[in-house]
Symmetry: C2
Subunit: 345 residues, 2 copies
DNA sequence: GGGCGCAGTTGAAATGTTTCATTAACGTAG
DNA sequence: CTACGTTAATGAAACATTTCAACTGCGCCC
């Protein structure tokens, strides 16, 4: 069957008694080769266990069959849902998807990008540590199809797909005010993250429009967007003097919200009676929390799918123009802000 | 700077006024080329924005610089932790990691493997839908370094890294019995998953050894290991006649446990007083649940790291012998089984 | 001053594909 | 019978790298 190294087209050609051009035709344009020879070649391939060498194909054809997604934080399920959306689009286009994880470290990100460039991937999707990083411009200038996911670039240096975070901040606060809250905490950070700024901005806008005193929208900064930071924000919140302590919290993502939820429940507060909580992203675990979490839903898979389509357009359409796609997030109200109808009485 | 296509070694050589063999030497054996020319070449590379073409390198050198992990279920954070462990090991070995997701569908898995074979990846790590699938044997026979992660192969066809699931089942039940429970439900399925069988087996072994009546260890089968199935198991559990209703549940993974937890809390039961819950895997969200979840911890990252080391050994060491690595899981007790010291009185 | 060793550089071969111009075979129309 | 068209198969070139044997100076020793 196989005697050492893996068989090449040449071996198949010899075994089938045809030229190696014909073998290639069987793989790439089966219609031009007669049924008889095609069958003979296919049998030879099966017998030898031939597997096409993708490097050689790519080298000659000049085109790779993979996309890549560089995700920001592997511990946040949100990004995996985005990746799943990309994967579906890639599958439809018969491409492989290379998933990398920068773990929020710029130097890992750059190392990944370097590798991807060497692989000559067909396009790169990325949720960058910093959307303005100069090496992203290098990529764009090089002509590598590039789409920024879940972040924005305001100059049109490349495509991006994101969500209207200002709007997301607005609907969260509108909902809380509707529920009667007049003192609300905003939990998120660091402020270097554009989304944190924009979600906060949306919150403040609507707060002001409703004529509520600015001081009653309390900003509780965090150092990261993790469960652990959510918990520690909970402690700080509990430590606030009563007259400043909010009756509701709006968290910049669900991880923070879940951490907060756990901490305050552990401290004996009731949710939502003592503290209502709104998250952001609507990851799967949000609905599955013990007090199901009200959250601002991002169309996570859609985000990935749309990004993949943009990158494919850039890769294949010579008249491609960079676009900034915007999705509008919507609030999903659950028990963490809406008290259940009392069980009896 | 660049005039159309990306520059090749030849362009660099021309720009630096050396032969292309020298350029290659600068990249691969800098010590053999004089400092003066090396510097000249490096300058030329920078000016042209040269990036080595990995396909060509791989074609000629015959060796790829990537590992691949085919994960079973992208919605389960457990596998991402495993992947993270692999990633660290790959980073140490200066390799890239290609992450694929089969979503528990055998045909996707096979398609991924086919692609990876074409890419001639240096080794494949996989948590397979079915560890006995014939195409896995094909891989092994082909000589592709292959490690099965978090599943077992009893014949020594390839390496595997797993956890002692029988033991995991034992410690979970021992803990519950210690806490005074005498009627316990086991939630998990489908039984085609080896781990489900073994965790249940461990549970039954210890149950019998303690002389408890077999009928009081109730098996509640599920169709999958997801949050949704956990919730539905919770409904079935609530519907059980009181004399058969367990006072504790041991779930085959944390996703099930989280779903169950949410459902029973929503139904007004108290955890652990009315129902104690033990999960398996100890994913990050287990500790962050509103009632922090007691769970059987698998060394998730360690699993990945060890698997990566095995695959690298197989790839590089001619005297490699297949090994079956076993980790021993340990119980992490939290509030879902241990009632907190009463707050007052 | 001829031979030798050494450091540095070169040029060609090789890797496994794809592509494309060319050839071969075989009818069929004139 | 020739010329032509069609269909099928061929062979060589090209892709970007790495490797390695061969070459070139050059200083040194006898």
């Amino acid at each position: 069957m196989l005697n050492g190294r893996t068989p090449s087209v040449k071996d198949v050609a010899a075994a089938a008694g045809v030229s190696l051009g014909t073998v290639s035709n069987v793989m790439n344009r089966p219609e031009v080769v007669s049924a008889r020879t095609r069958e003979r070649v296919e049998r030879a391939m099966a017998e030898l266990g031939f597997v096409r060498n993708e490097s050689a194909r790519q080298l000659r054809a000049g085109t790779s069959r993979t996309l890549a997604y560089v995700m920001l934080d592997g511990t946040n399920p949100f990004f995996h849902d985005v990746a799943q959306g990309i994967e579906f689009a890639a599958e439809d286009a018969d491409l492989s998807l290379f998933i990398c994880n920068s773990n929020s470290r710029a130097e890992r990100e750059e190392a990944h990008l370097d590798r991807l460039l060497q692989q000559r991937v067909q396009g790169i999707l990325i949720t960058p540590v910093n959307p303005e990083a100069p090496y992203l411009d290098d990529l764009a200038r090089r002509g590598v199809p590039l789409v920024i996911v879940d972040r924005r670039r305001d100059d049109g240096a490349c495509c991006s797909v994101a969500v209207d975070d200002v709007h997301g901040g607005r609907v969260a606060i509108e909902h809380l005010v509707e529920q009667g809250h007049r003192r609300v905490g905003f939990i998120g950070g660091p402020e270097s993250i554009g989304q944190v700024r924009e979600r906060l901005q949306g919150a403040r806008e609507v707060w002001e429009e409703l004529g509520l005193p600015a001081d009653d929208l309390v900003y509780l900064p965090t150092e990261a967007m993790t469960v652990a930071e959510g918990r520690s924000a909970g402690e700080r919140l509990a430590g606030l003097p009563a007259r400043r302590r909010p009756t509701a919290a709006f968290c910049a993502n669900d991880l923070l919200a879940l951490g907060l939820l756990q901490q305050v429940i552990g401290a004996g507060l009731r949710v939502p009676d003592d503290l209502a909580i709104v998250g952001f992203d609507d990851i799967e675990f949000a609905a599955a929390a013990a007090v199901p979490l009200t959250s601002v839903r991002q169309p996570r898979q859609e985000l990935g799918r749309a990004a993949a389509q943009l990158v494919l357009d850039e890769a294949t359409n010579p008249h491609h123009e960079h676009q900034q796609l915007f999705f509008t997030p919507e609030l999903v109200a659950r028990a963490s802000t809406i008290a259940p109808r009392p069980r009896s009485r």
